[in-house]
Subunit: 162 residues, 2 copies
DNA sequence: CTATTTATCTTAGCAACTAAATTATATGTC
DNA sequence: GACATATAATTTAGTTGCTAAGATAAATAG
């Protein structure tokens, strides 16, 4: 196990993290295919499921799509029986988007292979190791978010005419 | 730190892994935007960069796209100066796709914030911890791949007419 | 040489996006 | 209350990038 130098070890961890990220994408795509919606649709469905019912405009901002795109997306999710529109009692211009109970069931069933595989893997480690792993993951996620924001915000040094 | 029960700890780790996967997607999107190409284009560029020069047909199979889509994709990558087509000396029907040297530089520069953030984080842990982390990640990736294949292969119980 | 296969490109059509215009509702001001 | 402005969602027009199918060129088999 000690065949790695410190640098190699670091590089190997970084590579594994990157691979892990790619596998996450593949899993999302497979889930979406099973549900009969696009990856974008599933991403938005996930946002609604995580944050709770929200208006079309809020979902547009949260997903980075335009409100026009959300209209079509909401149509597709409704047609697939995964979400429904509800009029807002207080502001009749608004449309609340809410996931249907079916989503919880279908989603859990489809996520089961991954969930079970990971849960099985984690049983091999003791509580202290899991706590350490959780700590590292949390810090890595926070650092990743920061890096993404840096990347987005970075002003291009010299824009080459164009 | 021991505020979690075993189940809560497991659930927290699973959630952190899922979040990590989502952040990976965001990072890819931000990278693609910086490079001035779509996420799909970057994914294919990445495939070529990782596996080395390949033909359009090989890239189609590796990416899951049709050869028709690869034609347009190769046009865009060439126009962006990220890849170039080269005639194959042995089989003149083939077109080899190769990343340009510029990609290595630009890619490394754009990946720097993430790379540095992760490298900095890892300096906080000793070699044994990193080796443990690497082991867990490798096993998690293998398990994830298996779960994805299970998900894809699962025959739909009863297809509801449609 | 001719037929078949293989590799890429081209064409037509489609799905999902954006930007801008439209409709409906809410809010502020006189 | 009436009017102007702001806000929320939808509709419309146009773009992009995909697939499927067909065309073209080159390799290979008989």
């Amino acid at each position: 196990m000690d065949e790695y130098s410190r640098d190699e070890l670091t590089a190997a961890v970084l590579l594994a993290l990157r691979e892990s990220s790619g596998l996450g994408v593949l899993h999302s795509q497979a889930m979406a295919e099973r549900l009969g919606v696009s990856a974008t649709d599933l991403e938005c469905l996930d946002i609604i499921a995580m944050r709770g019912p929200m208006t079309a405009g809020e979902l547009a901002r949260a997903s980075g799509l335009t409100t026009g795109a959300i209209t079509g997306l909401a149509d597709r999710l409704e047609r697939a029986g995964l979400a429904k529109r509800e009029p807002d009692a207080e502001d009749r211009r608004k449309v609340m988007l809410r996931v249907t109970p079916a989503v919880e069931k279908k989603g859990a069933a489809l996520a089961k292979p991954m969930h079970d595989a990971m849960a099985a893997l984690l049983t091999d480690y003791d509580d202290n190791t899991l706590a350490l792993l959780l700590d590292i993951l949390k810090r890595a996620n926070a650092a990743a978010l920061g890096a993404i924001q840096t990347l987005r915000a970075r002003p291009e040094p010299r824009r080459r005419s164009r």
